[in-house]
Symmetry: C2
Subunit: 337 residues, 2 copies
DNA sequence: CTGAAAGCGCTAACAG
DNA sequence: CTGTTAGCGCTTTCAG
């Protein structure tokens, strides 16, 4: 049988409670005792039993990551997960993943979820991160949570990056190449990403003194298919754009597909930019100019902050992480054709 | 405070033990009693406390998914995860993810891992699924595990699909289009996927009466870059192939990139096929002809089998799931150029 | 700064 | 088929 806390206590010649104090990082233990206990722990190869800790301490050591089902298959969430796991690695916490259909009323189901899994903390990505009723209910239940890229002010812990500025940068890049007619495929309603990226697009045009043309902005929903459809609309215009900025990489791929179908060469006949920096942006040919979103870093930071908030419930934390513009082969100066 | 098992027992007028029996699915409870207890559970909104169950029952209700770090960012594992979560959904089990560097000697670290997390069962994907020492140690520790696509016979529960046949199918497809010189970029050593897919390639050639030419087979390691490098070698041959079958989609993208750099048009000048059916295969233009690997289904089946094995340790289960050939725009009859 | 003892909520012998 | 009772291994009052 594995060593238990009382074995450690006996070995170190102290009480069980003192060992527990060391285990939980309390500071009121004499250095000498602490060292003796730590040695016993090593000697006996002692590992605390998580179930017993949970039961006695009324905490699960679980951080739940809530995301929605369409997101489930995107590399965005995969990257966030990598960051979340990384952050948990050096803590006693485990991450558990919970995809929820965005269509479901999560605010109504959250009570049952919490009753079942009893997570100590939650990390929410859009669109759940934008569900005001959900956040309110979590506050009522007194459960700590961190949001990623939430557009709500209600979230006292939110991690993101300057999406508006990133979008502005990428459109400014197109403008600097000489493009004047730049199309934009928007993201899905309800996501902050939609508004921020569109605003960045408009800001870049304004700063360059290029008039905004509403016919160049087409609705998308973050899917490849919507990018394809939007490109059809844009390329069918009497005066089509020479460049298209899609609000994410999948839609940019849709745009590239439509260009391909029409025999248009990217970037000679049409420049295309995406957003997110998903794997496909590197794999596709030509490489897709995009913004690398710091997903991994955001997942990591979200967990770190929310674990801190468990100790200090008053914690308020807004963090904006750096992003990277990735200039690749899909953008170039407009052709003469 | 939430209802506890004794509240349910009191409400139903039975002993705690009987409630426990119902909770754990024992059959030796009279139907009438069972129904009464189930009603009380509903009425009181009772949810068992997982920590207490774990502690008393000496099980964690955790299924750990072990994968390696390069795999971590691939959509392969993302899909497996989706399946694993799906399978856990309707059970009291939670999935926990654990990326391990493939370079690490997992067999040596598994004891510590098990001591810490005490998973009731494990699911292993390649390359860990092929680590004989690891599996042996798990057997010694008496921990149930399921492998996915393991090439070892030692694994008593393994889920996969007929990779050799799938590769044969895809090469047969190229042959049927009229290709005679078909290049192959292999997978990474140590993965069954490498050997199976290469064997399928050779089998297809043999059945079609096409001589095997070793110069058409180039080493790859499943990365985009290795596909790029392999394509360089193949396209530099005096008598280059008219089609290339890469052992996964990322490498196929590398091949397409090299073709793009050389001004070769896919599929007119070169047909390209991948393997896996990752998202990029649909997003890229032209669409990539590939085999959709049933990742989600494998993850799901692996969990189901391994949970069954907890109840019946003698369970022996080998399952081969159906795959799908996806013919897309990247493959066509060889051009006349 | 340290210790003794009382549970956390459930499962599992064991007895009926 | 059902109930009684003793823990599972840890945290945490409450004293000292």
């Amino acid at each position: 049988m594995a060593a238990r806390i009382e074995d450690v206590a006996a070995d170190a010649g102290v009480s069980v409670k003192t060992v527990s104090r060391v285990l939980n990082g309390y500071t009121n233990v004499r250095v000498k005792l602490r060292e003796r206990i730590e040695k016993s722990i090593r000697d006996l190869n002692y590992v605390p039993n998580a179930s017993a800790r949970s039961l006695a301490g009324r905490r699960s050591f679980l951080v739940a990551l809530l995301y929605d089902n369409p997101t489930a298959v995107s590399s965005y969430i995969m990257d966030v997960i990598v960051g979340v796991l990384e952050a948990c690695k050096e803590t006693p916490y485990n991450a558990v993943l919970h995809p929820f259909d965005a269509a479901d009323d999560l605010a109504a189901r959250i009570d049952g979820f919490v009753a079942h899994h009893r997570p100590d903390a939650l990390v929410l990505v859009p669109p759940h991160a934008n569900n005001a009723k959900l956040l309110q209910r979590l506050d009522e239940l007194d459960i700590r949570y961190a949001t990623i890229s939430s557009r709500l002010r209600e979230s006292s812990i939110d991690i993101g990056f300057d999406e508006r500025k990133a979008a502005e940068d990428i459109v400014a890049h197109l403008l600097s190449l000489g493009h004047q007619r730049i199309g934009h495929v928007t993201g899905l309603k309800g996501h902050g990403a939609r508004a921020w990226r569109r605003t960045g697009y408009r800001d870049a045009l304004r700063k360059a003194g290029v008039a905004y043309d509403a016919s160049l902005v087409v609705e998308g929903d973050f899917t490849f298919e919507s990018g394809l459809a939007a490109a059809r609309v844009l390329l069918d215009l009497d005066h089509p754009p020479t460049a298209i900025f899609a609000a994410n990489d999948d839609m940019a791929c849709g745009v590239m597909r439509e260009a391909y179908e029409r025999g248009l060469v990217v970037p000679d006949d049409l420049s295309v930019c995406g957003f997110d920096g998903t794997p496909v942006s590197q794999l596709i040919s030509p490489g897709l100019t995009t913004v690398r979103q710091p997903c991994r870093e955001m997942g990591c930071a979200a967990v770190q902050s929310v674990l801190q908030a468990i100790r200090d419930p008053s914690l308020h934390h807004q963090e904006r992480l750096p992003y990277q513009l990735k200039i690749r082969g899909s953008s170039a100066a407009p052709g003469t054709s």
